[in-house]
Amino acid sequence: MVAIPALAVEDLSVEFRTRSGVVKVLDHVGFTVEKGETVALVGESGSGKSVTAFAVMGILDAAGKVTSGRAMFGGSDLLAQSERDLAELRGRELSMIFQNPRTALNPIRRVGQQIADVLVRHGGATRPDAPREAIKMLKKVRIPDPERRAEAYPFELSGGMCQRIMIAIALACRPALLIADEPTTGLDVTTQAVIMDLIGELGRDSGMATIFITHDLGLAAEYCDRIVVMHAGHIVESAPSRALFANARHPYSAKLLAATPGETASLASLVSIPGGLPDLRRADLPACRYSGRCERLTDACAQPLPHKTVGERHDVACWNPL
């Protein structure tokens, strides 16, 4: 049986027009997320994870342009939709949680009101019912004393509480797809686990597909079914979490793993990845954007990137995989 994925991103390219030139931030990116599946999008800072999410959501800022690709969601291409149709879907069918919950909430609006706004907008509740429904959502994300907290402003709540409010806003209308962009960065470890468990649990209950953006491979392995590795706007490898940990094939994935603290690796054995991301403004970017940092570089690497399937749902974009 071939299931239709919840989201299929194909051939997605995004450029930013800036004063210092055109930045080719995403280059023919493609990945799928099945219904009910949790997929991690990992890569170091600047690799284009957030831009991928923003492009799918249709909330790139004005300088960003999608130059090719499709994002198939529920039978239609998100990238081809008008802003109006997309706004109908956002918050109802596909939702997003951001890093930095404190700044991601309106500072001068009561949090219950902010949840109610989304419910009312998408027909999840009528205006008079909305406050009660908002309190129900607060209960769902396990905020103690929800009636009182609904009246609070974000500055009266802790970071972890604010992130729960964000989750309540995102899940208020039971979306089919949730994109969580580093939802736990900046929270302490205990709160991190609570938030991740909450997202996982609420997602499982409703069969929601989740994209979890992080640079923490350890967190990705713990909570996700599959991992997609990004480097400088390319997807270099995608594999089931276990397969990636057992048998990473792309040199970059292997370096990332070696840089991740875990049960097997002691802190002392951690390796940092040499070099940095290439300057994406260059006109003569190499076919493989990792080639400048790669120890396995050969002449073959100048050819356009291959897409090799090396195992069950395990793809790698490299001429000389490990």
Partner: protein
């Protein structure tokens, strides 16, 4: 909110005390000897000394200060030397003229600047954004007395579509019955449309001159503040939640963006209090600014003192109002105090 009001009132008390001392000192230190001035050019030294005694200027400064405080406590700001009228009565009589002019100018400026700034930010880079830039640049580079003179020259002298710049009302129209002291409101309340039209046409040029002057900082602040809020994380959240564009721009972005605009509004208002003096002089507007200028020219210190005191109290009251308004919009201020 009450706590905020009380704490702000408490901080206003030292300011008022300071103003009282400063106005007293300032007027005693002004150049010119009022006694000599009022005794007349040909007066003998004895005559001048007599006048000085009559005015109480022969006493020591501390004695004069105590007298001043006692008078103040009785609501007495002294009499004008040139007209003999009590200063308080004159200021109360003239205040509505200044207030009407300033408020109309301010409403005009706010009514244009805020929509202009919001539109310029929402439609960044379009013609409305360019218009906003031109208006703000022009407003900053034109001093208010120059705009006033230019407008009078063009609209009265050249085009003859504006009345002569000679006060609040044409000579052959009678002032409306005094209800609020604002001619525009009083003439409407008494159903006197002709007076209303007359008052409006007299008010137009000075009010527009002052509005142009205060437009620039308001529009610029609105645009800048709106732009930064539109780029903020919580507006992105609002968009990512699919909220309607109107909700995003007004309920989410504008309410946050208006905070620094309120602060600017307070600043602009205090600029306007100063600009009043110039505009009233240019348009012979019978307000307290003109009163103060005339008093200053004749070393008539009681009106000057009264004027400065009135302005300072107005300014403090205004800042209080701005603080309260700010607290009304921003829960962080309201709940912190």
């Amino acid at each position: 909110m009450l706590k905020l009001l009380l704490s702000r009132l408490a901080t206003a008390i030292p300011s008022i005390a300071g103003v009282i001392v400063v106005t007293f000192m300032l007027t005693r230190l002004l150049p010119g000897d009022p006694a000599a001035y009022f005794a007349g050019l040909a007066a003998s030294p004895q005559a001048i000394a007599e006048v000085r005694t009559k005015l109480g200027l022969d006493k020591s400064l501390p004695e004069q200060f105590v007298g001043y405080i006692v008078d103040l406590a009785h609501g007495n700001l002294g009499n004008s030397l040139s007209t003999g009228q009590p200063v308080v009565a004159e200021i109360v009589n003239r205040l509505p003229a200044s207030a009407e002019l300033t408020l109309v100018a301010l409403f005009l400026a706010v009514g244009i600047a805020i929509p202009l700034g919001v539109l310029a930010a929402v439609k960044q880079g379009t013609w409305i954004d360019h218009l906003c830039r031109i208006v703000t640049t022009a407003g900053v580079s034109l001093p208010v007395f120059f705009t006033g003179l230019l407008m009078a020259y063009v609209f009265y002298y050249l085009l003859q579509i504006a009345p002569a710049p000679t006060g609040r009302l044409d000579a052959f129209l009678s002032a409306p019955t005094d209800i609020t002291g604002f001619y525009l409101i009083d003439s409407i309340l008494t159903g006197n449309l002709e007076t209303f039209r007359g008052a409006l046409s007299q008010l137009a040029l000075p009010a527009i001159s002052m509005a142009i002057f205060s437009l620039a900082p308001l529009a610029r602040m609105t645009r800048g503040s709106m732009l930064s809020v539109l780029n903020s994380d919580f507006v992105r959240t609002a968009r990512a939640s699919g909220l309607a564009p109107r909700t995003v721009v007004f309920t989410y972005a504008f309410r946050n963006a208006v905070l620094p605009v309120i602060t600017t509004l307070g600043m602009v208002f205090s600029f306007l209090l100063g600009a009043n003096v110039l505009v009233e002089t240019v348009f012979a507007w019978p307000g307290i600014g003109l009163y103060a200028v005339n008093a200053l020219l004749t070393s008539d210190y009681a009106p000057v003192q009264g004027f400065v005191l009135a302005m300072a109290v107005l300014y403090i009251a205004l800042n209080l109002l701005i603080d309260l308004l700010y607290g009304l919009v921003d829960p962080r201020v309201r709940l912190d105090s």
